[in-house]
Homo-oligomer: 209 residues x 2
DNA sequence: GTCTATATATAGATAGAC
DNA sequence: GTCTATCTATATATAGAC
């Protein structure tokens, strides 16, 4: 049995609660009681709730972003014609790799990302774009290379539609999974959700004008 | 200049703030100060914040739902084979009609709907399904008729992905329209946005398994 | 119906002992 | 680093005068 330090205990509890309930609806008291640490330790270790939120997401971004960068540059080095679907596949590997990094990591990361977009966490969007804007640009470029028949504007629209689909799906994943379980007796997890959503967005992006 | 009663002032202010910031992040104080009414009047007129949230949505649902019901029954009366795209077209009319009902009504309604799903407003989902479950079932049925090769569950998932796409697009519609104007010299309005998103979601919904 | 004043609860953050 | 106790701000909700 490994000793887990207070900082990590807080990160783990906060991550789970933020993903489940959103940032605004998760109090520091709830986090510290679940983590079984003292309330004051959050401010001691992180300074504020905002910085805790950023720290929770940073732990995943530091794993995910390099993975995405690698996948994208490998894609660019192949001689084959780059297909639309290959570009989206660049996301799947690094996303699923988060499950090796941490139990249910893929789930947590996507839910957190969804919460970050949907809730008005301006500081969070600022944090992400200033730290990781570059890789987002190269992903955009890859989609353009894969869809030379589409105008930049058309790609712009469709990628935003895609983002919306994924973010909303992840943010409401708990409700969706509950309904699927109740109505269809079907137990779906986050990986199942990803596999369900990819054909949907892929069809939308590559459909003719 | 028309006199607007307190109840309506509250509804108008609440609607705008809820759509912009979400339910949890909008306090009654913010609502009443923007509406220029007394704080206590919210509880006098609506009883509680929860009931105010329901009232804000109900004002739109009472217009939207009958419109959708009419469009769906007209669709069922035609002799032609019902196409997937016709089913979605049933939504467009009633949605755009909300702009005649109220300024920026379409956007507001879709944003509110999205907030309701994403935030943990259990009471809101209960409110919607108990009051308007019937029409949702018939819309669902129409989509099934148009896609006889798809299972009920598959349709459930794809319709929710669709909802996500639309809601997110509406939530960020202001930014999207601004970018399109600046980067592509293309003036798009809400109706244009809806017309752009329909091929995307239509392709996603009717794509083969 | 509308106001002031206030009750009550809960939030994030901190001071200071240990 | 961790604790208790507390500060300060803000939330929803209500009582009671007008």
């Amino acid at each position: 049995m490994q000793k887990i330090d207070t900082k990590t205990k807080i990160l783990n509890a906060a991550e789970q609660l933020f993903a489940e309930r959103g940032f605004a609806d998760t109090s520091l008291r709830l986090i510290t009681s679940q983590a079984e640490v003292n309330l004051a330790s959050v401010n001691y270790h992180f300074g504020s709730k905002k910085e805790l939120i950023q720290a929770v997401l940073a732990r995943y971004l530091e794993v995910f972003i390099p993975g995405l960068e690698t996948a994208l540059s490998e894609l660019n080095e192949t001689d084959e014609r780059i297909d639309q679907r290959n570009v989206f596949e660049c996301l799947v590997g690094p996303l699923l790799a988060l499950n090796a990094f941490k139990h249910r990591g893929t789930t947590a990361f996507l839910q957190l990302l969804g919460r970050g977009y949907v809730e008005n966490q301006g500081h969070l969007r600022w944090f992400i774009t200033t730290h990781y804007g570059e890789v987002m640009d190269s992903f955009n470029q890859a989609v353009q290379n894969a869809n030379p028949h589409l105008s930049k504007e058309e790609i712009f629209w469709r990628l935003h539609f895609t983002l919306g689909t994924v973010v909303f799906t992840m943010a409401s994943s708990k409700a969706l999974i509950d309904i699927a379980k109740a109505d269809f007796k079907n137990e779906v997890d986050i990986e199942g959700l990803i596999r369900k959503v990819i054909p949907f967005i892929s069809a939308g992006v590559s459909t003719a004008k």
